[in-house]
């Protein structure tokens, strides 16, 4: 009974982690950007969904779409207001660009977090489940919503896979992660490629944020924790590796669920952190990372 419960809960939370992490790693793999405003982006999506559902009494699906759209807008804002100016700035030495982008997105994330808290307080916001109700799986009463989340996450990831591997645009993205300069001389404007990546990122982070709101709730205070989780998973799986992020998401998700159920919810995050430390010391490029 407990086993089944752990299996189900773990699956759902891992799927959610996976979605967030995939966006994060894609952003790094293709654009070379570690977006520290990731958690804040998810929170904006979550809170927007909450606002639309609450204040405009819309049905959860409409709220979800609105939330995702907010995620995309936040991603664009991050790109045009913070990342692109730094990358084009002539006063930042090339070697320090990465660090400036990191610090810039960090600050931007804090600004978003504080703005959300100012307008909507930092109480956790929840959104009604997309599909309400409970069902029995293997003798365990499970909210249907958990299954919905898992299905949506995997559907999105599946669509992404199709995009990257089967579409023309996807091939361009893949090529950009291998050799951006070559793409340029083959007639592809890199600025357009980056825009595409940020859009995809916004969608992924937005959906992840909305789903989080329906599942556990989201608050602006969680922004840095969400970013940190995505980090850890992505580093564990290997920066830039989408498969690695998915694998790591499940490792972390199940570790957390197991710990929460079998030991105590307070220690939930510990095993994953310890694993992360081990990985960083022993195999810094992660489970499936390129190096």
């Amino acid at each position: 009974m407990l086993t089944v419960q752990i299996l189900i809960d773990g699956f759902a939370i891992s799927a959610l982690y996976g979605l967030g992490a995939v966006g994060f790693t894609l952003m790094f793999g293709v654009c070379g950007v570690l977006n520290l405003a990731h958690g804040a982006t998810m929170v904006v999506a979550a809170v927007t969904a909450w606002v639309v559902a609450g204040q405009y009494a819309a049905n959860p699906w409409v709220a979800a779409v609105a939330g995702t759209a907010a995620g995309v807008l936040t991603a664009f804002a991050t790109y045009f207001l913070v990342v692109r100016p730094i990358e084009r700035s002539s006063s930042v030495p090339a070697a320090e660009r990465e660090i400036f982008v990191l610090t810039g997105t960090l600050l931007w994330g804090i600004m978003i977090q504080e703005a959300v808290a100012y307008f909507y307080t930092d109480n956790p916001k929840t959104v009604r489940p997309l599909i309400a109700g409970i069902m029995q799986i293997g003798g365990v009463r499970t909210p249907i919503n958990e299954l919905v989340i898992a299905v949506i996450c995997w559907a999105v990831i599946g669509l992404l896979w199709l995009l990257v591997n089967r579409s023309k645009a996807g091939k361009v993205l893949l090529a950009a992660s291998i050799n951006p300069r070559a793409l340029s001389i083959l007639g592809f404007e890199l600025s357009r490629v980056y825009l595409l990546v940020w859009t995809i990122y916004g969608v992924l982070a937005g959906i992840a944020g909305v789903l989080l709101a329906t599942f556990l709730g989201a608050s602006s205070a969680q922004s840095s924790q969400l970013t940190a989780s995505a980090f850890s998973i992505v580093v564990l799986g290997g920066l830039g590796s989408v498969y690695g992020s998915l694998l790591a998401a499940y490792v972390v998700g199940y570790l957390e669920t197991l710990t929460a159920y079998l030991i105590s919810p307070t220690y939930r995050t510990v095993p994953a952190l310890v694993l992360l430390v081990l990985v960083v010391y022993v195999r810094p490029h992660g489970l499936l990372g390129r190096r």
């Binding site: 001389i185 083959l186 007639g187 592809f188």
Partner: protein
Amino acid sequence: MAEPLHAPAPAAGAGVPLLDVQGLTKRFGGLVAAKDITFQIRAGEILGLIGPNGSGKSTVMQVIMGLHRPNAGAVRVVGVDVAGWPPHRIARQGVGIVFQHSRPLHRQTVLENIMLGLLPDKLLKLVADRHVREKARQIAERVGLGAVLNRKPGTLAFADLRRMELAKAIARDPQVVLVDEPFAGLTSTEVHAFAQLIADFRADGRAVLLVDHNVKSIASLADRVFAMYLGERIAEGTAEEVTRDPTVRRVYLGGGIDIASRPTRPARNAPLLQVTDVSVLYGKAQALERVSIHVDQGECVAVVGLNGAGKTTLFNAISGLVPYSGRISWDNSDLRGRSPAAIARGGVVQCPETRELFGEMSVRENLDLAGQHLTEAQAAAQLEWLYDLFPRLRDRERQAARTMSGGEQQMLAIARSLMMHPKLLILDEPTLGLAPVILEQISNALEQLRNTTSITVLLGEQNVTFALPHADRIYVMEHARIVWEGEPSAFAAEVAATYL
């Protein structure tokens, strides 16, 4: 504790060689970058290590410096085997290095940059010994930097930056000095001054290793020359002996210059590409100096010159990859301000020296990417045509690009550029590092290309024999400038003798 500035000079050639390289071999994965390299340099001797790109000369230098650990062989500095030591230990054992590209500390003055070379590797040095500053001053004056001691590198002229590199290299009074491309980017007056400085190192009794692309630039300085190609030794002797060596000539010139059977080309058409007075600066280095060329519709123009002459820089300027001054017009419109991607889409496609393939993607995927700007039908037709031109690619359609041989990768790179249906194809060093048999195949493909299409080609090559049969006109580049222009027939008569 005062140390003498000059090491006492033992009789040249006497005693243990200061640098003794025995059977040095270095592999990177499957690639053998250097194979069984053996040479010695005695005190008061200058050895020139030459070879084209990919010859392994840089690898040899990097192993001596300690950047790589050799797979086999020994490197003895004043009798001590330093192979596998970390670079800082080798430096203190007595090896100084002048890097090809200057690497100053930008926030420190010239004096401080040189002082760095004199400091001990101690953690707790809070105040420099008094003599360190004085000694740094002396070294600076020796290399001609006495007047700019308190300036920061950002304000220095290019030649002075190079002088600073020389100063840093000899600061610790090394027995062995490695110099990478000593004269790159210098004017002829500066070359003379630098040659004198390096000759002074020899007079000090040091062992000097000069690494460069070709014999010509170091002929007057080097006592002996060691030539490499594809990781192996191909000749050794005096500069004159090496220049005359048939294998060396074949490597650089591709063999005898034969211009016998050349098809006649149609009469001159309007210039398609017009490059006027273009100059490029890389930081302070003059990479291109007031270069003017033109390429007419349907022509094949070859720009020949040794590595480092400026061919790639010229091509990069045309493709919009580097900033330049001057004017480049294509099809009567100025290319300035257009992004590299826009220029490529406009019909000017470059196949770069480094090929820039998407290694993890397959042959087919690489080609498909290039064909994305065409319609499905056009792309399919183009693909078929390219497979006919390069049958090997059809066989290896699904293979990952990076697992292919050098020749196959080159074919893929050319095919990929052609996939874009270019009006002007810029080919940068297509024959670099390839075996003669592959050269022939590529040469045939180029011939076929010109016979069956109206494509215009701009070819950059070090290998003159490859370029000559295809070229309608030739430009010769040397030290960032065009030094000769004319027809292939005139080339053999006027230039060939002094080319190497």
